[in-house]
Subunit: 425 residues, 2 copies
C-alpha cells in the first residue's frame, strides 16, 4: 500500500543533485541559471507523474495542482531548488521533495480534499547571484517591481530581467505571477534548519513561530591606490584597512544585540586593484543583518552606519552604502502552527517551537495567506556548504508531518494510515 517512501525521497534527492554538482561535492544552481531551470524541469516531470495539473507562472515559478472538491482557494506547499555557489544538497530541495511526497500520497491513495493542493517550486530563493533573495515568492506576493528586475544584476552585470529572458521568461509579465490572497488558503514550507537547535534538542520537527528578515547593504569604500612600498603610513587612504574596521563594527554591533537573536555578517568583500604591492584603492562589501526583533535590528543597523561614518571621517576615505533589502521580521500563522503540531503528534514525532534566523519564501507568502514552516535537523548546523546534511529519515518524517498538515488544512476526510518504508537504496 502506498506510503511515504524514504527510498523514493533519497532517489529523487540524488537525481536532482546531479544537476550543478561541484567537484567539492556541493551543488551550484544559481537563481535563473540553466542549472536551476533543469532542476525545475525535473520537478515538473515528477509532478506530471503524480497526475498534478502543471503550470508555470510568468517568472518561472512551477505549480502542480491536485484539484479539491471545490475550486479553491488552494493549500500550497513547496520551497526552492536553486542554491548558493557550491552550496549544500538539502537547502530548498527537501521542501520540494517533501511536498511532492506528501501530495503524491494523496494522489496514490485517491484521497480527495475539500480544497485543492498545490506543490510550488519558487525561483531564485538565494541572494547569492543578484544580492536579493526570494525573487520568485516576492513576485507571487506582489512585492517585486518590474524595475527591480532591470536594476538588480549579478557579478557579470547580467540583470534579473536578462537572466529571465535567457530562459524564455518575460520580465514585463511580472505582475501576472502575483496571486490574490483569496486564491491561497494556506502555505506550508518544509526547510532544513540551517542551525543546531533541533539537533541539540534531539527533536526531529521544528514548528517555526517567527522568521527573522534581513536588512542588507552594499557598501563601497573608496580610498587611494598607491605603491605599497613608497607611500608612508600617514599618507595612506587604504580602503581595505577602512573596510576591516567596518567588518569588525558589524560583528560588534550584532554581538551587542545577540540576546535579541540579531546576527550580522560581511559575506562578500572584494579588493581593487588587488595586487601585493598596491595599497587597496577600492573595496566593495555586502553586509547582512538579521533579527526576529525589528527594533534590535534597527539598533544594530544604526550602530553600523555610525561606525562607517566615523571611519570615513577619521581615515579620509569615502564610504557609500546602498540599501538592498530591508524586511520586517514575520510572525507565522498560529492556526497553521496548530495544524503542524497536531500533524506531528498524529505521525508520532516530537516537535518544538523554533525561530528561523534565515529568510524563506514563506516570509512573502505570509503576506497573502496564513503561513507556517516546518524545520528539519541540520547536522552540525552546517548550511550553504557541501557538508550540509539532513538524515533521510528526518526528511521522511517531515513528509509525514506535511501530509497530515495538508490533511487538516485542506480538510481531507477519512483516515490515511502511514508507514515509513525502510531505506532500501
Amino acid at each position: 500500500m502506498a506510503a511515504i517512501g524514504t527510498a523514493r525521497l533519497l532517489k529523487r534527492l540524488v537525481e536532482l543533485n546531479r544537476i550543478g554538482e561541484t567537484v567539492e561535492g556541493g551543488v551550484t544552481r544559481l537563481g535563473f541559471s540553466q542549472e536551476e531551470e533543469a532542476a525545475v524541469r525535473l520537478c515538473e516531470q515528477w509532478m506530471r507523474e503524480l497526475g498534478l495539473v502543471v503550470r508555470r507562472d510568468s517568472v518561472g515559478n512551477l505549480y502542480g495542482r491536485r484539484p479539491g472538491r471545490r475550486e479553491g482557494p488552494a493549500v500550497v506547499t513547496g520551497s526552492h531548488v536553486d542554491s548558493v555557489p557550491n552550496g549544500g544538497k538539502y537547502d530548498g530541495v527537501v521542501g520540494v521533495l517533501c511536498a511532492l511526497e506528501a501530495v503524491g500520497l494523496f494522489a496514490a491513495r485517491n484521497i480527495v480534499t475539500e480544497y485543492p493542493l498545490e506543490v510550488v517550486v519558487f525561483r531564485c530563493e538565494e541572494s547569492s547571484r543578484f544580492g536579493v533573495a526570494t525573487l520568485g515568492s516576492r513576485a507571487v506576493a506582489g512585492s517585486l517591481r518590474e524595475e527591480d528586475l532591470h536594476r538588480l544584476c549579478d557579478a557579470d552585470g547580467v540583470t534579473v530581467a536578462q537572466a529571465m529572458a535567457a530562459l524564455g521568461l518575460e520580465p514585463r509579465r511580472l505582475a501576472e505571477a502575483r496571486r490574490s490572497p483569496g486564491s491561497v488558503r494556506a502555505f506550508v514550507e518544509i526547510h532544513v534548519e540551517q542551525g543546531t537547535v533541533l539537533e541539540r534538542a534531539g527533536c526531529p520537527i521544528g514548528v517555526v513561530t517567527h522568521i527573522a528578515a534581513p536588512t542588507r547593504y552594499q557598501v563601497r569604500v573608496s580610498g587611494e591606490a598607491a605603491h605599497s612600498g613608497a607611500t608612508p603610513m600617514n599618507r595612506r587612504k587604504d580602503a581595505l584597512a577602512a573596510a576591516a574596521e567596518i567588518v569588525l563594527a558589524v560583528e560588534r554591533a550584532a554581538q551587542d544585540e545577540a540576546a535579541c537573536g540579531t546576527v550580522g555578517t560581511v559575506g562578500v568583500l572584494t579588493v581593487k586593484p588587488g595586487a601585493m604591492n598596491v595599497i587597496p584603492g577600492d573595496v566593495e562589501m555586502g553586509i547582512d543583518i538579521r533579527s526576529i526583533d525589528g527594533e534590535s535590528k534597527k539598533r544594530a543597523v544604526q550602530r553600523i552606519l555610525a561606525a562607517m561614518e566615523e571611519t570615513a571621517l577619521r581615515r579620509g576615505v569615502k564610504i557609500t552604502e546602498k540599501l538592498l533589502v530591508d524586511e520586517e521580521p514575520v510572525a507565522l500563522s498560529p492556526w497553521v502552527q496548530e495544524q503542524i503540531r497536531w500533524a506531528a503528534e498524529r505521525a508520532g514525532h516530537r516537535h518544538m517551537p523554533i525561530v528561523s534566523a534565515a529568510g524563506h519564501d514563506a516570509m512573502h507568502m505570509a503576506r497573502i495567506a496564513p503561513t507556517g514552516m516546518v524545520f528539519l535537523p541540520s547536522r552540525d548546523g552546517v548550511s550553504h556548504n557541501p557538508l550540509e546534511y539532513t538524515d533521510i529519515e528526518d526528511v521522511a518524517a517531515g513528509a509525514e508531518v506535511l501530509f497530515w498538515t495538508l490533511w487538516r488544512l485542506a480538510e481531507a476526510q477519512g483516515e490515511a494510515p502511514l508507514e515509513v518504508e525502510p531505506l532500501t537504496a
Copy 2:
C-alpha cells in the same frame, strides 16, 4: 650636434607603451609574457640602432654593450619594461630609455670610455604575476635557484619555468645568467620615485641612499562557512572577521615603526565562498612589509605574527602563513652616490638624498657591484596605476645626469657639452 633628445625620449616612451596598452590608459606587460617580450625586442632594435653589441642571457635579460678602451669590467645601467596589471607607463621604462639615451650620446659623439658601457633590460621586475619581484636581476646576482622557477606560479598555475619556456628560454640554464662581481664595475639605475618626496621638495633628482626591501607573507585564514542568518554570533568562526583583525594589526605594527620608515600593507584579500548569506569560511591574503631598517622590519613582522596567533587562538580559526620573500634592506654605494651628485651638479640640476621604499633591480646588483640609483619625480606620487606620470623634461634631466654619471664611472675623457633639445612632438 648630438644631445639628450627630449623628443626622442617621448617618442620611444609612446612607442614602447603601445605594447600592452589597456582601455583604462595603463599598460599590462606582465613578467615573461608575450607583451614584455615584445617590449624587450623593441629595446633590442634600439640598441642595434646605437651600434651596441647585443646579447640575451639565459633568463632573457637583454644587454647592449658599447666597448671601452679595455675589455672590462663594464659600467651597467638600465631597468625593466614589465608592468603590474593595468600599471603606469613610466615605472621601469624611463630607466631603460634614459640608459639608451645616455649611452646613445656616447655613441653619437664617439666618446670612448676606459671601461665598457652596458645597457640592461631586466626581466620580470614586478611581483604581480609570480608573487616574487626582480626575477631577472636575481638571476644575474645568483640569488635565484632553479627550483624557484618550478615552484613559483601565477594565478593560472603557470610556473616561471613554463612561462620562460613558452618564450624559448631555458630555465635549466639559469646559472649562466649569473655575473661575476669582477665583470661589473658599477651599476646605476634610473627609476620614477613612486612617492611625493621629490615633487614636494621641487627637486628633479633624487640620489638614492638606501633601498627598503620587502618581507612578504601569504596568509590563509580558515574558519567555518555557515548560513549568515541561522548561525548565532557566539557559534561563528568567521574567517573574514579574523582577517580584518590581521589587516588592522599589519597597519598598527607599521604605524608603530613609521619613524624607521617601515610600511605594511595588505594589498590582496579574497573571501570564500563570497556570498551575501554565507559566513566566510576561508580568506587568503597577502602581507607586504618594507623598511630601510632591517631591525624595525623584524619588529613589525614579529608583532604581526603574534597578532595572528592571538586572533587564531581567541577565534578558534586556523591561520597559516607562508613566507614568500624576506629581503634585507640595502645601503647603496657611497662612491656611486658621489658620482651621481657630481653629475647632477655638472648638468645643473638640483639633487637631494632620498630612500627607496620600493624594491628595485638595483637591490640585487648591489650584491655584485657598487650600485647607485637616481629617482625622478612622480606626479602626486601615483604609481602602479594608469595615472602614473613623470614629466618628460624630468626624464631628460635624468638622462643627462646619467650621462655624466657614466662619464665618471667609466672614466671618459675630454668634455661633452650637453643641451636638452626642445620638446618637439
